[in-house]
């Protein structure tokens, strides 16, 4: 589950022949139109290409701008939205996903305690956030956060 949305983004990091790699300037932060969708997408792309600090920055910008709205949406729900209603909860979905991405990036950077905290926000506080998998279904970052936390806290 944790890798679901990375599928189409993975090409960024997985492409290229071994003998054909060359240094690439890290792209500057581009918040675009500052929508939650743009920021979340940029966070995914940064994570996929291994720019973990940028992924964190995009994710945190998304939370900075939309977390209040996201938490209102979460508070109004008693269960995850049905597929035809998911997009009504856009802020919750994107902020929850951003916290998940942030947890992934922090994990890659070895910032274990912060990563656990980020995953726990998704798991415990933004539980009904959903994200779209390009293969054709919604998934829940909160569900995906469970094993991430176990991996960081446990001895597996």
């Amino acid at each position: 589950m944790t890798r679901l949305l990375l599928i189409t983004l993975a090409a960024v990091s997985l492409s290229g022949c071994v003998s054909a790699t060359s240094p690439v300037e890290p792209p500057a932060l581009d918040f675009g139109d500052f929508t939650s969708q743009t920021l979340t997408t940029q966070a995914w792309l940064a994570l996929a290409r291994g720019d973990y600090q940028q992924a964190i920055s995009y994710a945190e910008k998304c939370a900075e701008l939309y977390e209040t709205e996201a938490r209102k949406m979460q508070a109004s729900m008693s269960e995850a939205a049905a597929p035809d209603k998911v997009h009504d909860y856009w802020a919750l979905n994107d902020v929850g996903t951003s916290y998940f991405i942030r947890g992934e990036a922090l994990t890659k950077l070895g910032r274990k305690t912060e990563a656990i905290a980020s995953f726990k926000v998704v798991r415990d506080e933004l539980r009904y956030a959903q994200a779209w998998d390009p293969k054709g279904w919604f998934w829940r970052p909160s569900t995906a956060a469970y094993p991430k936390i176990q991996m960081l806290e446990g001895d597996f």
Binding site: R3, L4, A10, L14, S15, G16, E79, T143, P147
Partner: protein
């Protein structure tokens, strides 16, 4: 075979009647087990086996090479108490000269006895009366043969038989499937009123749950197969309207169809520790979230199976060594880690990993693996072609060819040199670390020759 509402305090007085339908002259239990579902007034459930509460700590079981005694002993030692099979044919394989049910009973393992209900996607025609009747007769024979075995826990009537794996297929299911299952469950109820009927489905959208409730009223326990979404699988079924008990019947790792792909379309296998954490998490979260609706679970898969790779779903190597998910489930089941843990694979690296690489290149790979008890590790490396026989729904796949001559230096150690094959295509480099005490770790890195 309907359960009736009852109270815990009066259960023992009524247990043997719980699966009776009154009009059917049910046989009295012989030497076999008596398993009942207890429903309390507040809509919760417990499974009772010979009068005692029984929480299923189970595994899907596929050992078919005569090593059942070892595999079952390992399961029992790990805290497992049940196995699930898919077809009656699994019982007919002699293992150590004994039937699987007998061996399971010797190890204190209960068996959900699977009966393979044929799939329309494999050509089964519900309008073919002869085929339908033949399947009914096979079930009748199976129930009469095995109903009195003391290891029998329940009947596993079908597995994902409703599913159309065609991309973009509708979630709507063929109503004839549920009607026929209801008929088949009636056969079981008639011949064996002492064991519940569970049917295993793939996913629980509201439309499916609605069809089951309307057309399959004899179903006692809903079995749910779920991989990446296993932690919330039960929750989703309950939200979709399922009002009975359920079990997670396949879970444990993110599926091959749910993970990140390489640019050439090869699914990237999670590392052993990630898979172990996923198994542990799915089991504990689902169990704790839905107490007394979840009767237990069957983690996939005790044994080994080629599905994208030979290591993706199996909890044991083909040679019998346990992998990290066995230890994780032992921890989940018992609260304690096993005395001797499997090796922990920290990392596996190679310059060619996830890359396109020139044919014939000589390169290297290394693995960082440690053993918690300090056991000396032995390593085995192997280059295999990417699977070209990918199927859906868990259908059997052929193992891809291996290239043993590719390893040029260091076989047996934690660092090797190897030659990239000359033939274009996808490949995987596998490493297996053995601790010499029945534990192992296996992982792989894909690469591609254009």
């Amino acid at each position: 075979m309907r359960f009736r509402a009852g109270y815990i305090s009066v259960f023992f007085a009524v247990s043997v009647f719980m699966f009776s339908e009154g009009a059917i002259a049910a046989p009295k239990p012989g030497s076999g087990s008596v398993v009942a579902l207890e429903k309390t007034v507040d809509g919760q459930f417990r499974l009772l086996r010979n009068g005692e509460p029984f929480e299923v700590r189970g595994v899907g079981y596929v050992i078919d090479d005569g090593t059942d005694a070892d595999a079952l002993a390992l399961l029992a030692a790990s805290g497992g108490n049940a196995i699930r099979t898919w077809g009656i044919d699994q019982l007919e394989i002699d293992a150590d000269g004994k039937n699987l049910l007998d061996l399971a009973h010797e190890h204190g393992i209960a068996v959900t006895l699977g009966f393979w209900v044929k799939h329309a996607r494999h050509g089964f025609d519900y309008d073919d009366v002869e085929s339908v009747n033949r399947q009914r007769e096979l079930l009748r024979e199976a129930v009469l043969t095995y109903r009195d075995h003391p290891a029998l826990l329940m009947w596993g009537l079908g597995n994902e038989m409703e599913k159309d794996f065609t991309p973009g297929a509708s979630e709507e299911t063929d109503p004839r499937v549920w009607k026929e299952l209801n008929h088949l469950a009636g056969i079981i109820n008639e011949l064996d009123p002492y064991h519940p009927v569970m049917t295993v489905v793939d996913g629980t959208p509201a439309s499916k749950i609605d069809s089951i409730r309307k057309l399959y009223p004899r179903l006692d326990i809903l079995g749910i197969n779920s991989y990446a979404g296993a932690t919330s699988a039960g929750e989703r079924a309950l939200q979709a309207g399922w009002d009975g008990p359920y079990m997670l019947t396949e879970f444990g790792v993110t599926g091959t169809w749910e993970v990140q792909l390489t640019t050439w379309g090869a699914p990237i296998e999670p590392d052993p520790s990630t898979k172990a954490a996923e198994s542990y998490t799915a089991y504990t979260v689902d169990r704790n979230r839905n107490p007394l609706r979840n009767l237990g679970s069957y983690v996939f898969l005790w044994g080994s199976k080629q599905e994208a790779t030979f290591s993706w779903f199996g909890m044991l190597l083909p040679s019998g060594e346990k992998l990290a998910r066995v230890d994780a489930m032992a921890y989940a089941w018992t609260g304690d880690w096993p005395t001797n843990r499997v090796p922990k694979l920290e990392s596996m690296t190679s310059p060619v990993a996830f890359k396109e690489v020139v044919a014939g290149t000589t390169t290297y790979a290394k693995v960082d693996c440690r053993d918690r008890e300090g056991d000396t590790l032995r390593y085995s490396w192997e280059v295999r072609a990417e699977s070209s026989d990918r199927r859906v729904g868990g259908d059997a796949e052929a193992a891809p060819p291996s290239f043993p001559d590719a390893i040029s230096k260091g076989q047996g150690t934690d660092r090797i040199e190897f030659k990239v094959p000359d033939t274009p295509g996808g490949y995987r480099l596998f490493v297996t670390a053995y601790d010499g005490k029945g534990g192992a770790a296996v992982h792989n890195l894909p690469f591609y020759v254009p």
